[in-house]
Symmetry: none
Subunit: 241 residues, 2 copies
Amino acid sequence: MSAALPPVIVLVRPQLGENIGKAARAMLNFGLTELRLVTPRDGWPNPDAGPASAGADIVLAEAEVFGSLADAVADCTTIYATTVRKRGVMKPVLTPEAAAREVHASAGRSAYVFGAERSGLETDDVALAHAIVTVPINPEFASLNLAQAVILLAYEWSKGIALASPPEVPLDPPAPHAELEEFIQHLTRDLDASGYFVPPERTEATLRTLRTALTKTGWSHNDIRMMHGIITALGRTPRPR
Amino acid sequence: MSAALPPVIVLVRPQLGENIGKAARAMLNFGLTELRLVTPRDGWPNPDAGPASAGADIVLAEAEVFGSLADAVADCTTIYATTVRKRGVMKPVLTPEAAAREVHASAGRSAYVFGAERSGLETDDVALAHAIVTVPINPEFASLNLAQAVILLAYEWSKGIALASPPEVPLDPPAPHAELEEFIQHLTRDLDASGYFVPPERTEATLRTLRTALTKTGWSHNDIRMMHGIITALGRTPRPR
């Protein structure tokens, strides 16, 4: 039995209540119970979810709703964005198998993040993630729906709960996402004040690049505390140049 | 690339055309195309199958209908009966993973046989099989539908063929150590100038902690260039506080 926490399933902007129900059913079949919803289109609770869950009511009853993906994964240390499409984002790409191995070896909380039924995850959603999980699929017929993607990832994860090997616990585990987010906000404010974002129309792309670089650091709570201090120190004293 | 033939998918007494369509969709996602139907309840073709297949029409168009399971698997050398329920039948019980390995190693034709939506396979159906395939599932919530069982077996089979490798994304590799070193020197100089190293006798330990945090970032050449710019920007302009 893996001692690692089961992954949280996060559905970003899901459209149909029926699909939320099917995702809950897929989860519970493989022992996953924690569902988080980011701004579901038709609000929550949704009367169409229950019948589609085929009895996975406990998952729906305990589902939590968040206003943003960042909020939904605030307590997670490793975030996996599931997408079948190629992105212009420089992140490691894992199979469901490889991701499951990482989740079982992690000392923190992991999140599997899924996009909306038709459109999938936005670039900004993917930017939050540490890695991308892609289900290898027939390139001539790639038609995996939301619940199917959930079931494949849940199934791969469930294989690891039979494993007897204890997780490798890193000495200083990565900080929860909320701490990194706060640091990114701090840095962005200070950079903005110092005139870093020039020209302004490049700001969004620059921020995304910066976020990617900071997301892959694996910084712990203590690392991030130190980095706050560094930013503050660098801005504090005008230095002779 | 496995040289073995892909397995045939056999649905025994399927009830709803919609579920036949969903099974076809599940198959084609993972490169399986040969579907056989044993006495489908509502006959064949079934107008409900097409819409549910989400474009997997080729699988449906080429589906064959048989009067008995024995006829449907007449050309197959190894027959796998999928069931989640315990049977009083003395057959080897395999996971989808183990069955897929056997299929890839087989010189003959393999069949994955699935029962009707509600009732599953009859004892006489299972008696024809060489082995039973069971998806390990949450004992307190075992609610896998037909298409989900098909997709899990098709997915496991697909790992053995070429499409099972994730797309190679050119990641931004970590920079050579000298670049990181240069960055650490830059940061150290600027922090020193801003009075960060207080008290002085802690400087060495602080530098070691800082170096550890920066060494684990995995930053690329481009990341490090950006970080040089960030340090310079933060120190450039005295900001109102």
